[in-house]
C-alpha cells in the first residue's frame, strides 16, 4: 500500500477506532494512527522527492469518471508540515486535555475530531477533483467547528456559530463555482480542466470560488470569525486551527488560479485580491496591538499573516528572468504558509502551557514565565522571529523572495506593506515577550514537565530550520510547480 493512501487512510481508521473503542484502547488506537500518519507523511515526501509525483486514480477510474489524487511538491510540503504540527499538538494535548483535568467528554471527543481534521487536510492537499475538494473542506470545517465548540463555554459556542456561518457561506459559494465549472466543461478534474476551452462563465466561477475560499481562509474582510474561534478553543486545537485549517482553502486557491484558470486572471482582479491581503496585514496587526489576552494577540496575528499569502497573486512571475531563482513570489508564499504554520502552532502550544500554569492568558498574568519555563519562552521568541520575518527563519526567506519579486515587478507597494507588517508584528509580539521576561516569583505554581515544554520549542526550531536549510524545501516545491508560477498570471 502506498504512502499516498496511508496518509489518508491511517487518520481515518484512527478516528473511527477512537470513536468505537472504549476509553484507553481508543486513545491507544489514536496514537497508533498519529504515529503511522506521521511516518506515512515522511515516506510520501521521500518517495515524491526520489521518484516523482505519485498519481492515484481512485478505484482505477480515470477522470472525468473518477477522482484523481496526486502528490506534488506543494502537497507534500503541506502534508509534512501538517504532520509535524498535528503530532506536536497531540503530544501536548495528552496532558492538557487528559480526562482528569478536562472531563471525559473532551477526553473522548478531541482525538476523533483531530484525526478527522488531519485526514481532511491531507485529502484536500492531495485531491485533484473540484467536487471532492468541496467534500474535503466540509469535513475540515465540521471537525474544526467541533474543536472550537469543545470547551462548551458560551463564548466558545458563539464563536463556533459565527465560524460556521462564514464557513458554510464560503463553501456554498465555492460549490456554486464548481457547479458552473461542471456545467461549462462537464469535468471536475484539475488535470482535465487545464486543457479546457475557456468558457464565458469561467470568470464568474473563479470569482465565486475565490470569494468562498477567502471566507474560509479568513481573509479580510471575512476575518471576524477567526480571533474568537481560535482564541476560544483549547490550545492544542487552536494550534491546529490557526496553523493548518486556513492553509487548506489557500492551497485550493493556489491551484485554482495557477493551475485551472490562469487565463481568467485580470490585472484588476489580481490587484483587488492583493488589496484585501494588504488590508488584512494592516488591520490584523493593528487589532493585535490592542488585545489584552495573549491568545487573541496570536489569533489576530494569524489574520495578518493570512493577508501576506494573498500578495502572491499579482507578484507571481515578477522579475523571474533577472533572478537566479524562478517563481520567487509563489515559492515565497508557500514558504510563508509553511513557516507560519509551524511558528503559529508553537506559539499557541507555548501560550497554552502558560495558561495552564496561570489559569488565564491575560497579558498581565504572564510575568515571570520566562524564568520559570525558559523553553516555552524561547519557543515563543523563536516563533516571533519567524512571524516578524527576521532571519534566519523560514518567514524571512519567504519575505525576501516576495519582496524581491515585488520590487522586480515594479509593484513596490506590496513590498512596503510586507515591511510595515513585519514591524507591526514585532510591536504586537513584543508585548507578551516583554511581559514574560519580567521578573516574578512563580515557584508556587506547578509547572509542566521539561518534555512538555520542549514540544513547542521543537516546532519553533523547525520554523527556523526551514529558513536555514531552505534549499531542500525549495527544490521540493519545484516538483509539479505550475508553469504560471514562474511566468506570472
Amino acid at each position: 500500500m502506498s504512502a499516498l493512501v496511508a496518509v489518508l487512510v491511517a487518520p481515518l481508521i484512527g478516528a473511527l477506532s477512537a470513536v468505537a473503542l472504549p476509553g484507553r484502547s481508543g486513545r491507544i488506537a489514536a496514537w497508533v494512527a498519529i504515529v503511522t500518519t506521521l511516518a506515512a507523511a515522511v515516506a510520501l515526501a521521500a518517495s515524491v522527492i526520489s521518484q516523482g509525483m505519485p498519481r492515484l486514480a481512485v478505484g482505477s477510474w480515470e477522470p472525468p469518471v473518477g477522482i484523481v489524487l496526486e502528490a506534488d511538491g506543494l502537497s507534500i510540503a503541506m502534508i509534512v508540515m501538517t504532520a509535524l504540527v498535528m503530532t506536536a499538538a497531540a503530544l501536548t494535548a495528552r496532558h492538557m486535555l487528559a480526562g482528569d483535568t478536562k472531563g471525559p467528554r473532551i477526553a473522548f471527543g478531541f482525538w476523533p475530531l483531530m484525526l478527522l481534521l488531519w485526514a481532511a487536510l491531507n485529502a484536500v492537499f492531495l485531491s485533484r477533483d473540484l467536487f471532492n475538494l468541496y467534500v474535503g473542506i466540509e469535513l475540515l470545517s465540521l471537525a474544526a467547528i467541533g474543536l472550537v465548540a469543545i470547551e462548551g463555554k458560551p463564548e466558545a459556542l458563539a464563536a463556533a456559530i459565527r465560524y460556521m456561518i462564514f464557513a458554510l457561506a464560503g463553501s456554498l459559494l465555492y460549490l456554486a463555482g464548481v457547479v458552473l465549472v461542471y456545467g461549462a466543461h462537464g469535468a471536475l478534474d484539475i488535470g482535465v480542466l487545464v486543457g479546457r476551452e475557456p468558457a464565458e462563465t469561467d470568470g464568474l466561477a473563479l470569482a465565486l470560488m475565490t470569494v468562498g475560499l477567502m471566507s474560509k481562509t479568513a481573509l479580510f474582510p471575512f476575518h471576524v470569525w477567526l480571533p474568537p474561534a481560535h482564541g476560544g478553543a483549547p490550545a492544542p486545537a487552536s494550534a491546529m486551527l490557526s496553523a493548518l485549517v486556513p492553509k487548506a482553502s489557500y492551497v485550493i486557491l493556489l491551484r485554482l488560479w495557477f493551475d485551472v484558470m490562469p487565463d481568467q486572471a485580470t490585472d484588476a482582479a489580481l490587484t483587488l485580491v492583493a488589496t484585501f491581503g494588504a488590508a488584512a496585514v494592516l488591520w490584523g496587526s493593528l487589532a493585535a496591538l490592542v488585545q489584552s489576552r495573549v491568545k487573541l494577540i496570536v489569533a489576530y496575528s494569524t489574520v495578518a499573516q493570512i493577508g501576506y499569502l494573498f500578495l502572491v497573486f499579482p507578484l507571481a512571475g515578477g522579475g523571474s528572468e533577472d533572478q537566479p531563482w524562478a517563481a520567487g513570489a509563489w515559492n515565497g508564499a508557500v514558504f510563508l504558509a509553511l513557516s507560519h504554520g509551524l511558528a503559529k502552532a508553537a506559539m499557541f502550544l507555548a501560550v497554552g502551557q502558560w495558561m495552564k500554569v496561570r489559569g488565564s492568558d491575560c497579558l498581565d498574568e504572564m510575568e515571570g514565565l520566562a524564568t520559570a519555563m525558559p523553553m516555552t519562552a524561547f519557543a515563543f521568541a523563536l516563533s516571533s522571529i519567524t512571524i516578524v520575518g527576521l532571519p534566519p527563519s523560514g518567514g524571512f526567506t519567504a519575505k525576501y523572495l516576495v519582496m524581491t519579486s515585488a520590487f522586480a515587478a515594479g509593484q513596490w507597494v506590496w513590498a512596503l506593506v510586507m515591511a510595515c507588517g513585519g514591524l507591526l508584528a514585532a510591536a504586537y509580539l513584543y508585548r507578551p515577550m516583554a511581559m514574560v521576561f519580567r521578573r516574578a516569583d512563580l515557584s508556587a505554581f506547578r509547572l509542566p514537565s521539561r518534555a512538555q515544554q520542549a514540544v513547542p520549542l521543537a516546532l519553533a526550531g523547525a520554523a527556523i530550520i526551514l529558513g536555514i536549510a531552505s534549499s531542500g524545501p525549495f527544490e521540493t516545491l519545484a516538483i509539479g510547480r505550475p508553469q504560471t508560477a514562474e511566468a506570472g498570471l
Binding site: P64, L157, V179, V290
Partner: protein, 101 residues
C-alpha cells in the same frame, strides 16, 4: 422556455433568496434554514445543467446526493450549536458584533 432553463432560473433565485435569509435573519435557526435554501438552489441549478442534453447524467445526480448529505451534516451540527448556545446564553441570536477588540 424549456424545463431545465426554468428550473435553473428557479435555482438561481433560490440561491439569492437563501443568501438574503442568511444575512438578514436574526434568529439563528432561521439562518440555518436559509443555508439549506442556498444549497438546494445550487443543486437544482446543477441538476438542470445535467438534464440539459436530454439524456439524464448520473454524475450530477450523485454529486447532488452527496451534497444533500453534506448539507444535512452541516445543518445538524449548526442546529446543535444553536440549541447549545441558546441554552448557555438564553438567546437564539448571536451577541452583537462588538467590533474588533
Amino acid at each position: 422556455m424549456t424545463g431545465p432553463t426554468l428550473y435553473a432560473l428557479t435555482g438561481a433565485a433560490l440561491v439569492g433568496i437563501g443568501f438574503f435569509g442568511l444575512i438578514s435573519a436574526q434568529h439563528l435557526l432561521r439562518r440555518v434554514v436559509a443555508f439549506n435554501l442556498i444549497g438546494s438552489g445550487l443543486f437544482v441549478f446543477l441538476g438542470a445543467a445535467g438534464a440539459r442534453s436530454g439524456a439524464s447524467d448520473p454524475i450530477p445526480q450523485a454529486l447532488i446526493i452527496t451534497g444533500i448529505v453534506v448539507a444535512l451534516s452541516a445543518s445538524a451540527l449548526a442546529i446543535g450549536l444553536v440549541v447549545a448556545h441558546a441554552r448557555a446564553s438564553g438567546r437564539p441570536t448571536l451577541p452583537e458584533e462588538d467590533g474588533e477588540a
